[in-house]
């Protein structure tokens, strides 16, 4: 048994040595030019790997002494693939939409010569005299980056860089404190779980710490099943060590000796990077036996989910870890008392754990200084849908929706009209224009009939049909219902059928009352969060956009012209130029044809409503329109 005195010094000293060694290895790097390519999944989908290859090839071909490094996601996904170039004598510049051609040009003009190609630079990373920084844009101005600060800047596969940025310092500090004190600090910070429900993290830890039984477990919930959310993926792919550090601190605080990171099957890159991170942490003595000489030991393993949305619910997640179908069980007992294999278990979301190192490093007061009184800290959102600047953003809690959508997100794409935001995915709801000035935190959203959820935020414009959205979400939850509770299994099925009928123009006036009743029953009759929240999208769209439902039912038309059974495509003869042929060429079903007078028309029997002709018709003509209710006009 070690004495208290040696415990206080040891972890910190060992950590300083580790960090020093890491910095030693990194020196010398800073004098060389450096190209950083964002290769998280979103970057890869936009072609980042080709960009990376082009940089490497060009650098080798010209015999340059330039380092190329893969980094994570900076968050400005609409500009992917993104590249940061650091050249001594210049501030680091960020470039967006760098394809192979731009990559080759950047090498030739900037790395070989001295022209930084500012015409396609987006911003500089550090303040300077020549070019604006991220903070000079509305997005950067309103953002406050805590857990996303290092995303896209450090190499996620290199522990040295995390150590260089004070990584694992919080762990060293925690290990020299009493576990109870660590819990107290987290409790004092008022950190609330970022998985959606907003349960106080400190309280959860305290319950688990006090619960009798060994071994105890810690689990990181990275089963980000909510369609439309990708923050956990981005965090795991861009800065996996931050999550590990949080999980290590959690384990120390509650006295756990074994931990799991439960990652979705659909995130192969995140799994790969996590495994690398675990190996590196093990090599440096930050994981395994006697961590940093403190006597505390923890083993961590990555567990891959198998594609079941319900496994995001903690009791279902535990069932899945134990090798059973992910069917939720009754709470209480809560997992903090009786979880994995009946032992006390703490389950925290990726984002929650990511905040923990920052809280320990900078203190609970600092954390409480950000955001609102009851929901301190920042909120990370995945902005997607019809917003101009899609991506991952981190703003203080209490930021209004208007600021988020119009300032941070840059407004609606193509200057269209804002209609609603969907927040919280299939368990959340929609918020209409009147809610734009709502300050977002856990409680205000709950009151407005939505939910923070995991932070997916999908923006809708006038072209999106609210009935169709409700149907889409219900289709999802109905499919993902595990089938344990009758109301969730059969109730959602009935609701889905009603909604499908409405979107196909077969709705009946009494359907709306029935929907409302069923929604209440499903909420009341379900055990877990999936069923309890499944009707939310229907309820909130019914509340805010009831007239859209009524138009579908009474007039058989879709005001947003989205429901496929209620629209026809039509080429306005007066607008068609006759001279171009793009719509004919773009039609995959050969439904568009040229009339004897040269004007194009659509054969409705062949039309599959793929929207292609509407997209390809040149903007100066806009001859293709959607009509609702459908009309059989313009036939043969």
């Amino acid at each position: 048994m070690k004495t208290a005195a040696t415990l206080e010094v040891a972890p910190d000293q060992i950590y300083r040595d580790l960090q020093h060694a890491a910095r030693q290895r990194l020196t010398g790097e800073k004098e060389e030019p450096l190209v950083m390519v964002g290769t998280a999944t979103c970057g890869r989908a936009a072609g980042a790997l080709d960009t990376l290859a082009a940089f490497k090839e060009e650098i080798v071909r010209r015999h340059l002494s330039v380092r190329v490094r893969e980094v994570g996601c900076l968050g400005d996904c609409y500009l992917e693939p993104m590249v940061i170039i650091q050249k001594p004598g210049y501030p680091p510049f960020i470039y967006g939409e760098v394809d192979e051609g731009k990559a080759r040009r950047l090498v030739a003009d900037f790395l070989v010569n001295d022209d930084p190609c500012l015409e396609f630079a987006m911003a500089a990373l550090e303040p300077n005299d020549i070019f604006p920084t991220l903070a000079d844009y509305p997005r950067g101005f309103y953002e406050q980056r805590v857990i996303t600060e290092l995303c896209g800047i450090i190499d996620p596969t290199e522990i040295d860089q995390y150590l260089d940025h004070e990584g694992y310092a919080a762990l060293a500090r925690a290990l020299s404190m009493d576990p109870g004190e660590v819990v107290a600090q987290v409790k004092e910070s008022k950190l609330r779980g970022r998985g959606g429900a907003g349960f106080p993290t400190g309280l959860k830890w305290e319950t688990c710490r006090k619960a009798p039984g060994t071994p105890k477990y810690v689990i990181c919930n990275a089963d980000e099943g909510d369609p439309g959310a990708f923050m956990d993926r981005a965090l795991l792919e861009s800065n996996p060590h931050q999550v590990l550090e949080g999980l290590l601190i959690a384990a120390y605080a509650v006295g756990a000796s074994q931990g799991y990171i439960y990652v979705r099957a659909e995130y192969p890159l995140a799994v790969e990077r996590l495994k690398t991170a675990l190996d590196q942490a093990r090599q440096r003595g930050l994981l395994g036996e006697n961590i940093l000489g403190s006597g505390f030991s923890l083993d961590l393993a990555v567990f891959q989910g198998s594609g079941a949305f319900v496994c995001g619910e903690e009791t279902a997640l535990i069932a899945s870890l134990e090798g059973r179908p992910g069917i939720p069980s009754h709470r209480p007992p809560f997992p903090a008392v009786s979880g994995l294999y009946g032992q006390p278990t703490v389950i925290n979301n990726v984002k929650t754990l990511s905040y923990v190192p920052h809280i320990l490093r900078q203190g609970p007061d600092w954390f409480r200084g950000i955001g609102t009184t009851d929901s301190p800290g920042t909120a990370v959102f995945a902005l997607a849908g019809k917003v101009a600047n899609t991506g991952m953003v981190e703003v203080p809690m209490g930021t209004t929706l208007r600021r988020l959508v119009f300032d941070v997100g840059g407004g609606i794409k193509d200057g269209k009209e804002f209609k609603a935001v969907l927040i919280g995915g299939p368990s959340g709801g929609c918020l209409p224009e009147t809610a734009l000035d709502l300050a977002i935190d856990f409680d205000s959203l709950q009151q407005a009939g939505a939910m923070m959820g995991s932070g997916g935020l999908v923006v809708l414009d006038a072209d999106d049909c609210m009935v169709e959205i409700a149907r889409f979400f219900l289709e999802f939850t109905q499919k993902e219902s595990c089938g344990k509770c009758t109301f969730c299994r059969l109730g959602t099925k009935q609701m889905l059928e009603i909604l499908t009928d409405i979107t196909k123009g077969r709705g009946k006036p009494e359907d709306l009352t029935l929907l409302w009743e069923l929604a209440g029953d499903v909420k009341a009759g379900s055990l877990c969060g999936l069923g309890k929240t499944a009707p939310n999208p229907v309820l909130s769209t019914l509340r805010h956009f009831r007239h859209e439902y009524e138009v579908h039912i009474d007039e058989g038309r879709c005001p947003a012209r989205m429901c496929q059974d209620l629209i026809t495509y039509y080429i306005v003869p007066q607008k068609c130029t006759k001279l171009c042929n793009v719509c004919v060429g773009s039609c995959p079903a050969e439904a568009v044809y040229t009339r004897p007078d040269g004007i194009k028309a659509i054969n409705q029997e062949l039309c599959i409503k793929c929207n292609n002709c509407l997209v390809t018709c040149p903007p100066e003509h806009q001859a293709v329109v959607k009509i609702s209710p459908p009309s059989p006009a313009e036939g043969a």
Binding site: T41, C77, P227, A229, E266, G323, R324, P588
Partner: protein
């Protein structure tokens, strides 16, 4: 299915089982590895896994059918996944799925009769900002259009009317 192939598959399953400690808790990782190697879960393989872990066959089957990821039939040589998350749906992912279905003449979850292409929908691959997204043979591609669907298929060696012709021939 010929016996030789079956035998081969079982040998691979045995090898996977040897790499794991045989606790019931390892059922999902073992099934995942079997699928990774064989691309699907053969019936005999599941039986073998159940026997080795001391789990009744019916429970192995219940796990294999509960999770979306597991397949009980061999997939096509090219695996096409269309993302239908919220953002993808709003940006027209369903139209993309329609296009694949029409071109390949199969429904989602099915494989073309020549076992060249299988078509699946996935809930969300987390690339919502690049919606609509497809994952073709593990390669993620964003901002897919109906015209690009033909391009993707052409890149995989698909010839127009191929699938339709095959189906007729089989009928």
């Amino acid at each position: 299915m010929p016996d030789v192939e079956n035998h081969d598959e079982l040998r691979q399953v045995t090898e996977i089982l040897q790499r794991h400690s045989l606790e019931p808790g390892n059922l999902i990782p073992i099934l995942q590895e079997v699928q990774e190697e064989l691309q699907y879960l053969p019936r005999e393989g599941m039986r073998l896994v159940g026997r080795s872990l001391g789990i009744p066959e019916v429970d192995v089957y219940s796990v294999a059918t509960f999770y979306n990821q597991f397949r009980l039939n061999p997939p096509g040589r090219n695996q096409i996944k269309v993302c239908l998350g919220t953002a993808c749906h709003m940006m027209g992912g369903y139209i993309i799925l329609d296009c694949f279905e029409r071109r390949l003449n199969v429904h989602e979850g099915e494989t073309t009769p020549d076992r060249e292409f299988s078509l699946e929908r996935v809930a969300c691959v987390g690339c919502c900002t690049l919606a609509p997204v497809t994952v073709v043979n593990e390669k993620t591609e964003g901002k897919v259009t109906p015209t690009r669907v033909d391009g993707i298929l052409a890149g995989l060696g698909f010839k127009k009317d191929q699938a339709a012709g095959k189906v007729e021939a089989e009928v």
